[in-house]
Symmetry: C2
């Protein structure tokens, strides 16, 4: 019954996603910004857009792009005959400012904030984030750590129990009013993602299960991984 | 000059590797123990053996296998016409006991202890570990973390600065006398790898650079990743 009510509320709730594509191609040893690199014949950012559209084809899609990348994006939208509607917000000098510019185009409901370079996000992960954010005001996807960890400090290092650690992914989902208020704060070097902005504003963060394939495409080896996955 | 001396000492030093293959196939949803699964036409454990042989074809290779897996291993050695010499030690009930059984076959010099399911280790990583272990008594390979992290405790969770965290890989390399003494301790639930055994015995652990591809093959998605890498 509660589940049905959530589903219904989520159905009528306005849903948006801000897809943040701020990165340059430096770490990829490529001139193409990494969100525009093709994987199995499609630019990463289009694969990402398609995932959110598959989750809900009424979702508002907001792309945050540095001005200088907008012409390239437009040619890709033509070349790949993109039929999914989108809005473009201008990228800022920092990720914080970019997200803020995206939020200016969102009015109400629940908003997901997602890295453009995470095309392997599962639709189930998106769904879990939106459902929990609807119930509790926010939700971020996390996965456990498979390897041993160590903490380094100055010249020394010591083991750190991985059972207490989670790897944070996106989409990070929030009640629109709450996240907009959180983004009225000044930027802070300790803001590494939207959850850290949100919790400094005083909110508790809710963790939901992510999916292990949902990696941030950063290095050339990640492209190989994503291509292998798409062929599975 | 110092470098040349290290190279010379490393050349005359006895080098061994204990390849620990204790795992069953449960998390792989496979009946085959994961170290025997084929990647691009070769069992993982053979790919791993070949990496250490490529580093130094005089290295002593010790495989630690559960008794019940020895017949399967022997058929693979025949099927793939393995021409690299090896010794077999019997797996124990715990990883601690397995490593101890492997160490019983090593006499002196430097020993690497490596997970059988890490076939993507770079020869450069193996080299860095042996060189530093020769100079300082031990070395383990680590890589930085790319994603945001959170620490969970009871019902709450908080951000954790990834800049202080390293992901630990293998091979973990040690002076043979020192690691043998460390393994005279009783087993302890806090021993998650050989470095934790070694440091409880009172030694400082030295970190060297690993390689990001050197993942522990755990889930089916990891196989796809490894196959993609081998094709690069």
């Amino acid at each position: 019954m509660l589940y049905k009510l959530t589903s219904f509320l989520l159905y009528i709730m306005q849903k948006s996603v801000i897809i943040v594509a701020g990165g340059s191609g430096r770490r990829m040893q490529s001139d193409i910004p990494k969100q525009f690199i093709e994987i199995s014949g499609k630019p990463i950012i289009i694969l990402t857009i398609e995932k959110f559209y598959a989750y809900d084809n009424d979702i508002n899609i907001i792309l945050v792009l540095p001005s200088k990348h907008i012409p390239h994006w437009n040619t890709l939208a033509v070349k790949y005959n993109l039929m999914i509607p989108f809005l473009i917000a201008k990228g800022g000098d920092t990720r914080f400012q970019s997200v803020k510019n995206g939020l200016a185009l969102v009015e109400k409901g629940i908003v997901a904030i997602h890295d453009a370079v995470r095309p392997m996000v599962a639709v189930k992960t998106i769904q879990r984030c939106f459902e929990t954010a609807l119930q509790l005001g926010n939700a971020i996807p996390v996965i456990p750590v498979n390897d041993s960890l160590r903490v380094v400090e100055n010249e020394s290092n010591k083991p750190f129990d991985r059972n207490f650690v989670r790897i944070v992914q996106t989409p990070q989902c929030f009640n629109v009013n709450l996240i907009k208020n959180a983004y009225l704060q000044d930027d802070d070097i300790r803001f590494t993602d939207d959850a850290t902005v949100f919790e400094k504003y005083g909110e508790k963060i809710n963790l939901v299960e992510g999916n292990p394939e949902n990696i941030k495409i950063t290095h050339p080896v990640d492209i190989a991984f994503a291509e292998a996955l798409l062929k599975l």
